[in-house]
Symmetry: C2
Subunit: 420 residues, 2 copies
């Protein structure tokens, strides 16, 4: 089963919206052993929609079209698909009742434009949307399928999971395809490649694919193969070899995030964690909290952005801030230790740095960040020099801090320092 | 000038990576008055690259290819483009010297794979990469252009800004195209459409495009037209009409974020802000801190995730937590008031809710969130009922809280409540 995603919307082409729908769909199809071969983004004009659907039917079996099903006048997908499939709109009473119920449940008035959303193409199978007013549509066409869904991510996901994927798995027997991923933090791709060169050669000699996927301070290694069952253990043994060689960098598998890995450890070991943050402004805490169930081990944080709050809330010595600066080993150690006490946690992460674009000094340029960890075995702090982009510096600080905590709690010592 | 973006990488198709490069490029081209007509995502196989380049040359003038230029064996773009343009690789001494310098400056050893990165196609113009080891390439081809860039976002952006955009503006005289955007929060698109129906009709009657772009709890309204200069004021007057009609929802223009709008107000009025967060775990603070220069008005935050810290750090009455629950008006008001004192700020935002997936109760289902604001004019709190998705609940809480603060400081009273 070959798949093409067609995302409709000027907002995607002019960069106002990130195409997260394509990301989610790609992942879900891959997990089901199907491959998305093309993703095409087009404008919401009739001509471009008709052209893109034509091209897609020429090269794939399944087309998933997202976007352009809203109630407003700029939404033309339903009308254009009626033209393509040579069918007409008819009022669907079941959809109408559901849309009406949607508004009643929310105590809101139903608008005329919403009634129009209950008109569906005669030849389409209607996919019931329980989360919104735009229904999905399934068109059978010469043994192939086109699925049209609203562009709002959670409605699209709901329609795929509840209706489209089950129907697709009935229609297309899916061939086995297999991806496995190893997650690393803090080491660049060419350094990984150098240090696992022999393992990489073995992997490729077996006919497996190996890809390095860098992003910010993380690199994912993805191994791909056909025939999942028989290769699962082989790939796992390669992953173990790489992990043993790079224990301070390899932190997980598949879609693991550092905050999840830390969360699992905290729960298993009955420990708690908190943060005291300056340049990251709460982003380390927010990453820890993004994990469901984090209330079991994450107690709280203090964002001490001003000098005063560093002193008042966590007891950093004001003289040290004045003489050594807020971005210094002394201060970040006091933040970690003071936070551990004030938050009453087993482990406290502290971060203080110059995220930029302003605030750099000759001896402390933008991108200078001190990260401290305080725990049952004492306190340590390390200095990092990231780049000159505020957003990226914050993200790197979050990832680096979480990986430092991971290494500390798992008792992994960094053998050497490799800057990313 | 028509543009196609070709993003190479299985990681995009299987959904491991979000295609933020396409977003950024789309925005930058749009700002320069050029339109990206197609974005195509393909696998990193020779056949797919050759095919996609062929298709793209048939329909656009400029192709920007991103990805596949790294030092590892899975990166095949450079070799494939050599084949397409029928040229060969030659060692480029200047690039070699730069790559060598890149490693020396970082005190790292240069690897053999990095030397290969100094081999460039003979017929290409080399675009100098100061931020990494993969150079960009510019191929002239029958009056059209193909630009090949590394997929790492900040290297790609650097190469576009420093080299590709200047060269493109020399080669193609750019036709005027114009997009303007109004940002709203807290109101659904069909409600906006109903309340501005007459304005929308006027806009369309003038031949302008109008699009509603919903995402999470925000909807952007985008008006598009040709001939920027003469239409700028006309569009601005439509925007003012909409703003006057929906003051509690319209918060900005273009790529404004709520945290930026708030930041500008705080600076202009010499006020300060802080947050006390529970379910958002620091995300409101992180959003405020993401704005450069936020240290002028953002003082700090407390993430009081546990009951104990709510009581200990901001003085919430433990009895109230026990009798009314942490997600209650009483508690969130105490968080806001206590935080205002403890952080010594003019305005304090507080949020306490059930983000999910666990923790829901019959009278307080998942998605129940109380938001409080304490400021010079007193304290108020409001209850919201979002959905059942943790990530989305956190994001909506952040946006809703920031908009509540905006309305409070700007003295905008909500005329009514329209749930999103």
């Amino acid at each position: 089963m070959k798949v093409e995603l067609i995302s409709i919307g000027d907002e995607l082409l002019i960069g106002q919206t990130v195409n997260t729908n394509a990301t989610w769909l790609g992942r879900e199809f891959a997990q089901r052993g199907a491959s998305v071969n093309y993703t095409t983004v087009i404008r919401d004009t009739k001509e471009d929609i008709l052209h893109a659907v034509d091209v897609a039917f020429s090269r794939v079996d399944v087309i998933v079209v997202t976007g352009g099903l809203g109630p407003t006048k700029d939404d033309i997908t339903k009308y254009t698909l009626c033209e393509y499939f040579n069918t007409e709109l008819v009022l669907n009473e079941e959809v109408l009742a559901r849309v009406r119920g949607y508004f009643e449940a929310r105590g809101r008035e139903m608008l005329d434009t919403n009634i129009k959303q209950a008109e569906m193409p005669k030849s389409a199978r209607v996919l019931r949307n329980d989360l919104g007013t735009a229904s999905g549509m399934w068109f059978d066409h010469e043994g192939k399928v086109l699925i049209s869904l609203p562009g709002v991510p959670y409605e699209m996901k709901h329609l795929m999971m509840e209706h489209a994927f089950p129907l697709l798995s009935e229609k297309f027997p899916i061939k086995s395809l297999y991806h496995r991923t190893l997650q690393t933090q803090g080491i660049g791709e060419s350094y990984i490649a150098e240090r696992i060169e022999d393992v990489e050669t073995d992997i490729r000699n077996r006919g497996f694919g190996l890809a390095y996927l860098p992003s910010s301070s993380q690199v994912r290694l993805r191994v791909s193969s056909e025939h999942a069952e028989e290769n699962e253990q082989i790939i796992e043994s390669y992953f173990r070899q790489i992990e043993e060689r790079l224990p301070e960098y390899v932190y997980g598998r598949e879609n693991d995030r550092l905050s999840e890995v830390i969360g699992r450890w905290m729960i298993e070991n009955g420990k708690t964690v908190g943060t005291v943050e300056s340049c990251t402004g709460g982003s380390i805490a927010a990453d820890l909290v993004s994990v469901p169930g984090s209330s079991a081990y994450f107690m709280g944080s203090m964002v001490t952005y001003s000098y005063d709050l560093k002193s008042k809330l966590v007891g950093v010595n004001m003289e040290d801030i004045e003489t050594q600066g807020a971005v210094s080993e002394t201060v970040v150690r006091q933040m970690a230790e003071g936070g551990r006490k004030a938050l009453d946690v087993d482990y406290c992460i502290a971060a203080s740095g110059i995220a930029g674009p302003g605030g750099g000094m000759p001896e402390k340029p933008v991108g200078t960040v001190w990260i401290g960890i305080s725990g049952p075995n004492g306190t340590f702090a390390k200095k990092f020099l990231f780049g000159d982009n505020r957003e990226r510096n914050i993200l790197r600080t979050v990832q680096t801090a979480l990986n430092l905590l991971r290494c500390e709690v798992m008792n992994i010592r960094k053998k050497e320092e490799i800057d990313h």
